[in-house]
């Protein structure tokens, strides 16, 4: 009897041991705890250890709430009337609860600073997500260079079945494809940074009023459909040497000056394709060559006349700094107009030189003027964000999930909710340019509830909304050569340097020989940057220029049907 009992005891002990071991193996084999299990089954210390996937995040896109990461600073903000910070922490904590293995680590730094990202990539401390054009040290229009240089991760598998992919394709298809896709692989997403409405002009309303320049609505402004000739005349009218006033201030070579170039050229009939002074190579050794059509020369001469005949342009090498001194000249009262981008974001706020005054009262915005046959270029910045290519699969997925959270998910909703609550408490003057910009052109769908709570027209002048709509949504976009596999992105981006030389020559030398300068630039451009041949370029060029023809036929039929257009295309572009 005794021995039987002993046997039973031994067997049951062994069984419980085996079951216990199986249980713990089962527990260990379980991949991730549910949020409930995480919250209730682990001690605080275990929770910390459990979070093994670290997502390094640096403010943007739109998670810069938590930059004040120390507890002391956070406490301060609670009493400073800044719920935005607390909201950020709440959003982050909620995300981490929903993803128990993930910890979002806020890193100090500026994700808009290229060196910060590049040194981080080299040292393994880069933020998980950053603007593509910044890491590639180029402008937004050439953000693609980041993927050409291998500076952003392949996220094709993540976007393949992503719920926002159809939305993005529908709303930002051509821009997204051009900037972030290559050979069927995806490398970036539209930024939650309000997609800039594009490039155009800012002007001094008070100067226009003084000069008696009014549009059809009686506003001191250029008419929305103004032409380049009208722009020239207005610049002349605003110029007054006695008062040290110039009609227009231009940066000949910094970021701002360069997009003016193609806008002006396009108005004179130069198709954009690659860059304005680039056309298919007649020789055939390479695909492209640098050179100017008569239309391009005409555009450059137009600028030269404004500069040296009318003397209505304030420009020079002194204005090539990234601090945008040319823009300050307009704000400070020396120039009546300036070429710039991000108008709404920049201008819905306080006047730079007098915080008591409101910017929109002084600064108006105007679209790019029209040219021959009503031509108007569409330059809409599309600010894509990419992910650190050194991240492993797990970390990339976590980073992608957090991006979704802040761009389109709960994090975005919390942001809008905070906007609404603060406006209700503080009044309309609270709304800054960034915030109101979100409601005008957020890249992802904003739930209708949040849209309905903020009336954009309460914060933004009517002309800002009108012009933004014209630039961003109503101006058709020309086909781009990137979509037809016709460029070497890395080299194409460097052509900016060559273009800059021509522009500077025009604004710095009254006796400039434009043809000679273009020839000098061609020497550099052809030898250094256009010395490549695309495979099957003839077929691709044919397809591309057929698309260009279709574009002009549909949107600018007067120009398309003109003899000038046909001759130009036959002589300079359809050279196969």
């Amino acid at each position: 009897m005794k021995s039987k009992l002993l046997k039973m005891l031994t067997i049951s002990l062994a069984l419980s041991l085996i079951l216990g071991l199986m249980g713990s193996f089962a527990f260990a084999a379980k991949k991730e705890l549910t949020p409930y299990e995480f919250r209730h089954q682990l001690t605080d210390e275990e929770k910390v250890k459990y979070k093994t996937i670290i997502v390094r995040w640096c403010g943007y896109p739109h998670d810069n709430w938590t930059v004040k990461e120390t507890i002391e600073k956070f406490q301060q903000t609670l009493h400073n009337g800044d719920p935005w910070i607390g909201m950020g922490w709440y959003s982050k904590t909620l995300f981490e609860l929903a993803h128990p293995k993930v910890k979002v680590e806020q890193v100090a730094g500026n994700v808009w600073n290229s060196q910060f990202i590049l040194t981080g990539l080299a040292g393994g401390t880069a933020p998980a997500c950053y603007p593509m054009h910044k890491v590639a040290k180029t402008n937004v229009g050439n953000a693609r260079m980041a993927l050409e240089k291998g500076l952003v991760a392949d996220i094709t598998d993540l976007v393949k079945d992503w719920k926002y992919t159809p939305w993005l394709k529908e709303h930002w298809g051509p821009e997204w494809e051009r900037t972030c896709w290559k050979d069927g692989r995806c490398y970036g997403l539209p930024g939650t940074y309000p997609i800039v409405p594009g490039w155009g002009f800012e002007y001094r309303r008070d100067w226009f009023k003084e000069a008696g320049l009014f549009n059809k609505k009686g506003e001191p402004a250029p008419i929305d459909d103004w032409t380049w000739s009208e722009f020239k005349e207005i610049a002349k009218k605003l110029t007054d040497p006695k008062k040290k006033r110039w009609g227009f201030s231009l940066a000949p070579g910094a970021i701002d000056g360069i997009p003016l170039y193609p806008a002006l050229m396009f108005g004179f009939g130069v198709p954009q394709a690659l860059r304005p002074l680039v056309m298919p190579s007649k020789e055939g050794k390479y695909t492209w060559e640098y050179g100017a059509t008569p239309q391009a020369i005409e555009a450059l001469k137009f600028l030269k006349d404004m500069m040296w005949k009318d003397k209505s342009v304030l420009s020079g090498v002194e204005y090539t700094s990234l601090a945008m001194p040319h823009s300050k000249e307009m704000l400070g009262g020396r120039a009546g107009m300036v070429w710039t981008g991000n108008q709404v974001g920049n201008n819905v706020g306080n006047f730079t030189f007098d915080p008591k005054k409101s910017n929109p009262k002084f600064i108006g915005v105007a679209p790019i003027p029209r040219g021959k046959g009503n031509l108007r270029l569409r330059i809409v910045d599309f600010c894509p964000f990419g992910f650190d290519p050194t991240l492993d699969k797990e970390h990339l997925k976590a980073s992608f999930d957090y991006y979704e959270w802040v761009a389109a998910g709960k994090g975005a909703e919390l942001r809008f909710m905070d906007n609404i609550d603060e406006v209700k408490i503080m009044g309309p003057q609270y709304m800054g340019g960034w915030d109101i910009g979100c409601y005008m052109y957020w890249a992802y769908p904003i739930p209708e509830y949040y849209r309905s709570q903020i009336k954009v027209s309460d914060y933004v002048p009517d002309d800002y909304i009108r012009v933004t709509t014209t630039i961003a949504y109503e101006t058709p976009g020309e086909p781009k050569s990137q979509q037809y596999g016709l460029i070497n992105c890395e080299k194409e981006g460097l052509l900016v340097d060559v273009d800059r030389g021509v522009l500077q020559a025009i604004v710095c030398n009254p006796d400039v020989d434009i043809q000679a300068e273009v020839k000098k630039a061609a020497d550099k451009g052809n030898k250094m940057y256009l010395n490549y041949k695309i495979k099957n370029d003839k077929e691709k060029l044919q397809k591309f220029y057929a698309a260009v023809d279709d574009f002009y036929k549909e949107y600018y039929p007067d120009w398309y049907n003109s003899t000038e257009y046909k001759e130009m295309m036959e002589k300079y572009y359809k050279v196969w």
Binding site: K149, A254, L314, V317
Partner: protein, 303 residues
């Protein structure tokens, strides 16, 4: 025998002392040698490797042979000739103005009263942050509302385009260096160390002022001049701040220098291999010039 023993002992003591001195020299010198190796020589060695690679930040680097150097050949790259020409032009202007003139001024100053010399030394010694100075000069040169054009207008003279005129822009970049040039202080200090008796003896012989300069002053400050010349050559060939701040290499590449091009290649265009290749070419050019300078402008003409 005893004498030999004493001699041997003292010789051993001497040797021990020498060994000890050498050991201490190595110990005290080691930190600087280590720091110089890590931050000075090692990067140069790495540069010689990177110059032969297509250097990527995140992807593995690929060996490209001489491609980076081939990219810089004048036949392939018009910018190479342009930047070297600009840099040598700047160096020539800079040496002519900011090297010779301070020597002349220092020599002439020595003829002044001691109190005047002291004041001049203080003025030269006042630290002026070079970047701040360059920015201020940029505003002086502004064609529309700069100080210089303002002076010209008030004198009834036509204005100049200063930084926008490719014919004089390089001179505009050199001038701030002339005014803010610190080595004048070094020359004055050296001149003050020349014994007065030499000049008195020369005066007794009936030697003229310029003959005194030629036969006494210049030979005595020759070592300093040689050293300052090397530094001036190296500094002027590496010019970057002035074109970067004042003109961003313009107008139309007129002030685009070698180091500016290296900066653009590396930090604007992310072409690190090509930038390093150009840096190595510059390194050899500077080395060659310094070797020539040392051969033909010896510090001590008696050696």
């Amino acid at each position: 025998m005893a004498i030999k023993k004493i001699a041997k002992v003292s010789h051993n003591k001497e040797e021990k002392g020498l060994r000890f001195t050498r050991r201490m020299a190595w110990i005290f010198g080691a930190p600087s040698i280590v720091a110089q190796s890590i931050f000075g020589w090692f990067p140069i060695l790495v540069a010689f490797v990177v110059a032969f690679q297509k250097f990527h930040i995140v992807k593995p680097c690929t060996y490209t042979g001489w491609d980076n150097f081939a990219f810089l050949l004048p036949s392939n790259n018009p910018l190479t000739t342009l930047v070297f020409r600009n840099t040598l032009y700047y160096a020539a202007l800079s040496l002519a103005l900011t090297f010779l003139i301070p020597i002349l001024i220092a020599i002439l100053l020595m003829e002044m009263k001691k109190s005047v010399i002291r004041v001049m030394m203080i003025l030269w010694f006042i630290p002026v942050a070079s970047m701040a100075g360059i920015i201020i000069w940029k505003y002086f040169y502004n064609t529309q509302y700069g100080l210089f054009n303002g002076i010209l207008v008030s004198l009834g003279l036509p204005t100049l385009r200063w930084l926008n005129d490719s014919r004089i822009v390089m001179l505009c970049l050199v001038l701030p260096g002339l005014i803010m040039y610190g080595p004048g202080l070094i020359y004055i200090a050296t001149l003050q160390s020349i014994p007065d008796e030499l000049y008195e003896a020369a005066e007794l012989e009936g030697v003229s002022f310029w003959q005194k300069i030629w036969h006494i002053t210049l030979p005595r400050i020759r070592p300093i001049m040689a050293m300052m010349l090397i530094l001036a050559i190296i500094g002027s060939l590496q010019i970057f701040e002035q074109p970067f701040v004042m003109t961003t290499g313009g107008p139309n590449y007129a002030t685009y220098t070698v180091v500016y091009y290296i900066f653009d290649l590396a930090f604007q265009n992310l072409l690190y291999g090509k930038a390093t290749a150009l840096a190595i070419i510059l390194f050899f050019v500077i080395m060659a010039l310094v070797v020539i300078q040392r051969k033909y402008f010896r510090e001590n003409i008696d050696v």
